[in-house]
């Protein structure tokens, strides 16, 4: 058993795959981060992400998977489920070892597991497209905070850029402390330093009609309900509680 340590990025993972094939490793375990006491253990490899090597593996995957299949692999990696790295690695090895495209071989445990991971990641991506709630700041930027279970922010850019082409917006992942900023032209990842923000300024930072529209939305939400059809279980299944603190209508 060899333990491979990598930086957790997709390029890092592809570099790992390169090393596995170059060194003809059989039994491997993946770990994210930095190994501090290399000397104590044998069979530990610190993998430095190498864009050239990653690119070669990516090309190999491209020739064996459909564009959609490659997208799915990337989405699965974004799930950042530590214990699942091995499954994703197993999937990639299965893809390379099979003589033809196996992305629809749902009888295989790696293919099936990958499709399950992709499903949960896509479900959360879709939920974020639904549950992002913007607030308008005085400089007319629309600002929203999110806390998804999976790191789906990189998957959200296109959707919101296509939708809100004529307004500046920021979607900020407060759990991972980075955000996505659209300035009417380009899309960029950003980091905000909240320690310098003065909390008393927060409310005055919003545009004057902001609270009116939030209240109207809350009222609308109440008026649209039909009490005679109350179904709490169904309601909870659709909007899990962990999302509530970002939804004005549920506050």
């Amino acid at each position: 058993m060899t333990t491979l340590i990598y930086d957790g990025t997709f390029e890092g993972l592809l570099t790992v795959v390169f090393e596995i094939y170059e060194r003809r490793l059989q039994q491997v375990k993946l770990q994210k981060g930095v190994w501090l006491s290399m000397a104590l253990f044998e069979d530990v490899l610190q993998i430095t992400t190498d864009n050239g090597r990653a690119g070669r593996v990516l090309n190999g995957l491209r020739s064996r998977l459909s564009a959609e299949g490659l997208q799915r692999l990337y989405a699965a990696h974004l799930a950042e489920v530590e214990s699942e790295d091995g499954m994703i690695l197993g999937y990639i090895r299965y893809v390379f070892d099979a003589p033809f495209n196996v992305e629809e071989d749902y009888g295989n445990k790696y293919v099936l597991r990958l499709s399950e991971i992709v499903r949960t990641v896509r479900r959360e991506k879709h939920r974020m497209e639904a549950f992002v709630r913007f607030k308008e700041l005085q400089d007319k930027t629309f600002y929203a905070t999110i806390e998804p279970d999976f790191n789906v922010l990189p998957l959200l850019g296109k959707h919101f850029k296509d939708r809100y082409a004529d307004q500046k917006w920021i979607i900020y992942d407060i759990k991972r402390n980075y955000g996505l900023h659209y300035d009417l032209h380009d899309l960029q990842f950003i980091t905000l330093d909240f320690s310098t923000t003065n909390p008393t300024n927060v409310i005055s930072a919003y545009q004057e009609n902001e609270s009116l529209y939030q209240d109207l939305w809350k009222n609308y939400f109440k008026s649209a309900n039909i009490p005679a059809r109350k179904n709490t279980k169904l309601h909870m299944r659709h909007i899990p509680k962990r999302y509530w603190r970002h939804l004005p209508e549920k506050l």
Binding site: A130, Y164, N225, I226
Partner: protein, 418 residues
């Protein structure tokens, strides 16, 4: 904007619009052009009411003033309620500001009828036009066509809206006569026929000239109220089937009647909403649209009502045991789709996966089929399967004893009424 007044109006006019079931916002491909606002394509539900229904559109009435007196409707003329009406600009502002905050996918605009059909329709169209032309709004717009409005207005509506709908209200003409004597079915069907032809014509134009304007790209839908009048499920489903086949409708919505008014032609105020029945009708509707079932396979003379205990696909399978068991590793997709417990996605996965090798129970379970129901109807690459020659009633008992239906509680209260 006067905050207090607009809040009151929104409360009244959203409350009055909530019995309209449709909230779909998919089926259109309106691209964001020239850095405008919005793109209608995905069909996203932005929130869910406490009754579990999805909210994807700002669903409001332009006004709840109405010249009609339909027994089932809260906005009926004789009902003593607060009345209100939005201005064109107010609806536009609400839509844009809700959309910019990502609360909604667009607007669903219906209305009580004031003065006459054209006067009302003209205002609905003006709102859609303003959103599209002055605000470059590409979100979803669903307009309720007012029966009796002129063809010119309907045509203009189709240029700005993604979807148009005329509610049939009651599944049969007799039902409508009973509860809405001032309305007639012809006035509802006439615009549906007009829209159908217009949609076909414009789609052909569009295939010839790329720049031809889109006309109601998400098609038309309708709604029938179920449980206010004594129609059987057979009548309801045949009506739906008729409109799917002859008017190319995208959706028929079934709205379980919510008693809101005391009237001796209607179920009493304490009657519970027929939620299970409504759910079964939607399941049957899906069988017709996505599973290749004919309406007379789902309901017939002997079975004019859908079974409330079990879903209609299982019901069909139990009446047609001679069609089973089918071999998962060999049968056509169309046959696999008919197996209880297997949905469209699992069926497609099965057909893809079996090219790589035969599938067994474990794999089928992982693919996501409901084995507790499916096992009585299929064989696969495993030795053990249900070999006993069970009668339909026995299979039903086994399945019911194993599944904890989420409707059991509501089902008993419903049955107690009869």
């Amino acid at each position: 904007m006067n905050a207090e007044r607009i809040t009151e109006k929104l409360n009244i006019l959203a409350d009055a619009a909530k019995y309209d079931v449709s909230c779909a916002s998919s089926g259109s491909k309106r691209k964001n052009q020239n850095k405008g606002l919005g793109n209608a394509s995905n069909g996203i539900c932005h929130t869910y009411t406490e009754d579990g229904r999805c909210v994807s559109l700002l669903k409001i009435l332009l006004t709840n003033h109405c010249i009609f007196d339909c027994a089932y409707c809260v906005s009926r003329k004789s009902n003593d309620i607060k009345r209100a009406a939005f201005t064109v600009q107010e609806v536009v502002d609400l839509t844009i500001n809700f959309y910019r905050r990502n609360y909604i996918e667009g607007l669903f605009l219906s209305s009580g009828i004031f003065y006459n059909a054209d006067y009302t329709m003209e205002r609905l169209v003006r709102i859609a036009k303003k959103l599209r032309t002055e605000h470059n709004f590409n979100g979803y717009i669903h307009l309720k066509s007012i029966p009796g409005a002129s063809d010119e207005l309907m045509q203009e509506a189709g240029l700005y809206a993604d979807r148009l709908s005329v509610n049939l209200e009651m599944p049969t003409e007799e039902g409508l006569k009973l509860l809405a004597p001032e309305k007639n079915r012809h006035d509802m069907i006439q615009p549906m026929g007009f829209l159908k032809n217009e949609i076909i014509k414009r789609t052909e134009e569009k295939s010839l000239f790329k720049k031809a304007p889109a006309f109601a790209p998400a098609g038309q839908s309708t709604q029938v109220i179920v449980g206010a009048t004594p129609e059987t499920d057979k009548q309801v489903l045949h009506t739906a089937n008729h409109f799917y086949k002859n008017f190319n409708l995208k959706r028929v919505y079934y709205s379980g009647y919510v008693p809101v008014i005391s009237d001796n032609r209607l179920p009493a105020l304490n009657t519970s909403v027929p939620m299970v029945r409504e759910n079964r009708l939607y399941q049957a509707d899906w069988l017709m649209r996505f599973y290749g079932f004919q309406v007379n396979e789902i309901v017939d003379e002997q079975n004019p009502h859908l079974d409330l205990d079990i879903d209609p696909k299982l019901g069909w399978a139990l009446r047609n045991l001679n069609a089973f068991p089918i071999d998962i590793n060999k049968a056509d997709l169309q046959l696999i789709l008919r197996v209880p417990g297997i949905g469209v996605q699992s069926a497609q996965k099965i057909v893809s996966a079996r090219q790589f090798g035969k599938l067994d129970w474990e794999q089928l379970k992982k693919i996501g089929i409901a084995v507790n129901r499916a096992k009585y109807f299929i064989t696969c690459n495993s030795r053990q399967f249900e070999r006993r020659d069970l009668a339909g009633t026995a299979i039903k008992q086994y399945i019911l004893s194993q599944s904890q239906s989420k409707y059991i509680k509501t089902a008993t209260t419903q049955l107690n009424l009869f």
